[in-house]
């Protein structure tokens, strides 16, 4: 395989929990991201799924150095972004851009569209012909050039997201990290934005990291998908593989939990209901982080030993001690009621 565009190695983001007013002392840490390895390949889309609080947004921001990682490396073009400071870091930012979830709050309400999309160019000292460049960018994202002199609040949600995307591609970045790019939009608008992202990828040879909680959206846009749970990646595979044969119990439950807009399928579906909620990342469970909710949990080993990511088939890695047994049907899931009584005790 080619050399990846971006390599993430052992990335950790721990937020300290502090007590005391005068003499602050650290009493613990929220392990938002706890040792993540990722490879992002040029021209491809990597999807990152997980529930709220699993650390997927923090991971995205740590890669972009909007949050300082506490350990690990983010290697782009031979440089470790995690170690960069000040002006060096600022210069590197033009290669990686972000598309935000809420296009209203991520656009400065006092800037016109023209200022919004040209500001990054000016910040990096790139000379450009103002009108031509603005027109070109707006055309790329499917907005009329008359939009240039308007302000964000005058647009609908979908159009605002287009403005956000225009700003992100203005610097011709290599990598675009899209954090929940469609979840704030109306259903009928989501497809417009997803199609736009795909189209831009083809035209501009962009590489994407798409962070989302919606597995259907992630499957649609991604070549590879990584599933995150409580700060760590539990499974990663090519999109088709992951959805056809999920190996990790968490992925299996997640996929079985999503309602599908097809009553025929829904009526026949077997659901694996997970009990309880995500444990606190300040005090993650011992052993496998998922063992407190796992319907396939086996005594002691799951509680004591953190499973490493293992490659079971080419490109398909999973962090579960019993992935093979679960796949072969040797271990069957417990029902939600059993889980509930077990969890309450």
């Amino acid at each position: 395989m080619d050399e990846p565009l971006l390599k993430v190695r052992g990335l950790e983001v721990h937020f300290p929990i502090k007590r005391g007013i005068v003499l602050e002392r650290q009493i613990g840490a929220v392990k938002a991201v706890d040792g993540v390895d990722l490879d992002i390949y040029k021209g491809k889309t990597l999807g990152l799924v997980g529930e709220s609080g699993c650390g997927k947004s923090t991971l995205g921001r740590a890669i972009l150095r909007l949050t300082k990682p506490t350990a690990g490396q983010v290697i782009y073009n031979g440089t470790d972004l995690a170690q960069l400071q000040g002006e060096d870091l600022r210069r590197q930012r033009r290669h990686m851009q972000m598309v935000f979830q809420d296009p209203m709050s991520s656009l400065n309400p006092r800037q016109s569209v023209e200022t919004l999309v040209t500001e990054p160019l000016r910040a990096h000292g790139i000379s450009f012909e103002r009108h031509a460049r603005v027109k070109e960018l707006l055309e790329l994202v499917g907005l009329p050039s008359s939009a240039a002199n308007r302000y964000p609040h005058e647009f609908s949600g979908g159009q605002r997201q287009r403005i956000g995307i225009a700003r992100a591609i203005a610097l011709e970045p290599d990598l675009v990290i899209a954090d929940e790019p469609v979840s704030a939009l109306d259903v009928s608008i989501q497809a417009q934005v997803l199609n736009l992202l795909e189209e831009l990828q083809e035209r501009l040879n962009l590489t994407y990291l798409v962070i989302a909680h919606d597995l259907a959206v992630v499957r649609h846009v991604s070549d590879d998908v990584a599933v995150m749970y409580l700060g760590g990646i539990v499974e990663q595979a090519p999109s088709d593989d992951l959805y056809e044969q999920p190996l990790h119990p968490y992925t299996i439950s997640l996929l079985s939990a999503i309602p599908v807009p097809n009553p025929e399928v829904e009526d026949r579906r077997e659901r694996i209901l997970l009990s309880g909620d995500l444990p606190s990342p300040a005090n993650p469970p011992s052993g496998c982080r998922f063992h407190t909710r796992c319907p396939f949990r086996q005594e002691t080993r799951c509680d004591d030993e953190l499973p490493p990511l293992r490659e079971l088939s080419p490109g398909h890695t999973v962090a579960c001690h019993y992935a093979e047994e679960i796949l072969d049907g040797k271990i069957t899931p417990r029902s939600a009621e059993e889980m509930l009584t077990a969890g309450a005790s």
Partner: protein
């Protein structure tokens, strides 16, 4: 087995009651409901118009639509929760044969909580942050059921147990912020269930929750409807939730119902271009990967006033001249209702549905 999460054992899964098609004497009958917002100085906004539907006991009805479709306003109007000033509610809402429109506030208050209850999208803002959750349940119990204080406490523990909250005896003393989002939504459902209401309205009850928690809550609602015969109105924009839970579906656009049908028929053969467009525009796990999405052009704010024509006409691929000059009527036939001059071709729709 792990790959076939879309299929499963045929003897399990579906626990919903098959919807009865006979609406005579239904529990809730909404007839020609309209809600107009009149702010002085501004033109009145027709938030909801000509909305007619009914819900029987043990039936599960969905109102589907995007922002601005009027689905939430409809539910608030049924519950009598709209502000009195600047709002005109017309039409009829009959609950167990009793007309609710025009009922005074104290009568409405006696009905709410006791006979009909509502759960909202954001459980945090619907719970009082400074009152323990147990007390919020016992308040409802004591007001509507007039039972003694110790009894109401045991009852509230029972209720929390029923909605699947582990260790309910401890949870009753906790405050909303100490609970997770899914727990809060369960508490809200427990409050709604406290007086065994005959009608439950759920306004986007799972939108703010994660998928695994959403599955738990949907399962809870499903059991509730099948087990106690409560009538449920589910308000949502998520077609997946509708497909898994609801018997009958009403699709709303810009304040009016544009299509109604039983669940299976609606998903197999959408007739209104908006319904069809919604189904084409979402990525689906039940279909092969890589199928292109066909978005609906424009945004939900690009509407035509219903008085001029069809509100969906500016975004509709089937729109013809008459769509912009005449208002389509809601044509009823058997189980179906459709408000469209140029519906999707049934054959084409069938092929489209078979695609998956």
């Amino acid at each position: 087995m792990s790959g076939d999460y879309l299929s499963g054992r045929p003897d399990e899964g579906n626990t919903t009651v098959v919807g009865d098609t006979d609406h005579d004497g239904a529990l809730l009958e909404v007839n020609d409901l309209s809600v107009h917002f009149t702010r002085h100085g501004n033109k009145p906004v027709h938030a909801v118009d000509e909305v007619t539907f009914s819900v029987g006991a043990g039936e599960n009805v969905a109102l589907v639509g995007e922002s601005g479709s009027g689905k939430s306003v409809t539910s608030l109007a049924i519950m009598g929760l709209l502000p009195k000033r600047g709002v005109e509610v017309a039409g009829s809402v009959a609950f167990a044969g009793r007309e609710l429109i025009g009922l005074d506030e104290s009568q409405m208050r006696n009905l709410r909580g006791a006979e009909m209850a509502m759960i909202f999208q954001d459980p945090m803002s619907s719970l009082n942050p400074v009152v323990p959750v147990g007390k919020q349940i016992t308040e409802v119990l004591r007001r509507h059921r007039r039972i003694s204080k110790p009894d109401s406490v045991t009852e509230s523990v029972d209720l929390l147990q029923r909605v699947g909250i582990p260790d309910p005896a401890r949870r009753v003393t906790e405050y909303p912020h100490q609970l997770s989002g899914g727990m809060r939504q369960r508490v809200l459902i427990a409050i709604a269930l406290a007086c065994q209401p005959r009608l439950l309205i759920a306004d986007e009850p799972t939108t703010a929750l994660d998928v695994t928690i959403q599955a738990q809550i949907l399962e809870l609602l499903r059991e509730l409807v099948s087990g106690t015969g409560t009538a449920l109105i589910m308000i949502t924009h998520d077609l997946g939730v509708v497909a898994s839970l609801c018997d009958r579906v009403h699709v709303m656009y810009s304040g009016r119902i544009v299509e109604s049908n039983l669940r299976h028929q609606l998903f197999a053969r959408p007739r209104h271009p908006y319904t069809g467009g919604l189904m084409e525009s979402i990525p689906r796990l039940d279909q092969a990967r890589g199928l292109p999405l066909t978005p609906i052009p424009g945004s939900p704010t690009d509407t035509l006033a219903w008085s001029q024509g069809c509100a969906f006409a500016p975004r509709c691929p089937n729109a013809a001249g008459d769509c912009k000059t005449q208002t389509p009527r809601l044509e009823m036939s058997d189980d179906r209702a459709l408000r469209c001059f140029h519906p999707l071709d049934t054959e084409a729709a069938r092929i489209g549905a078979a695609r998956g």
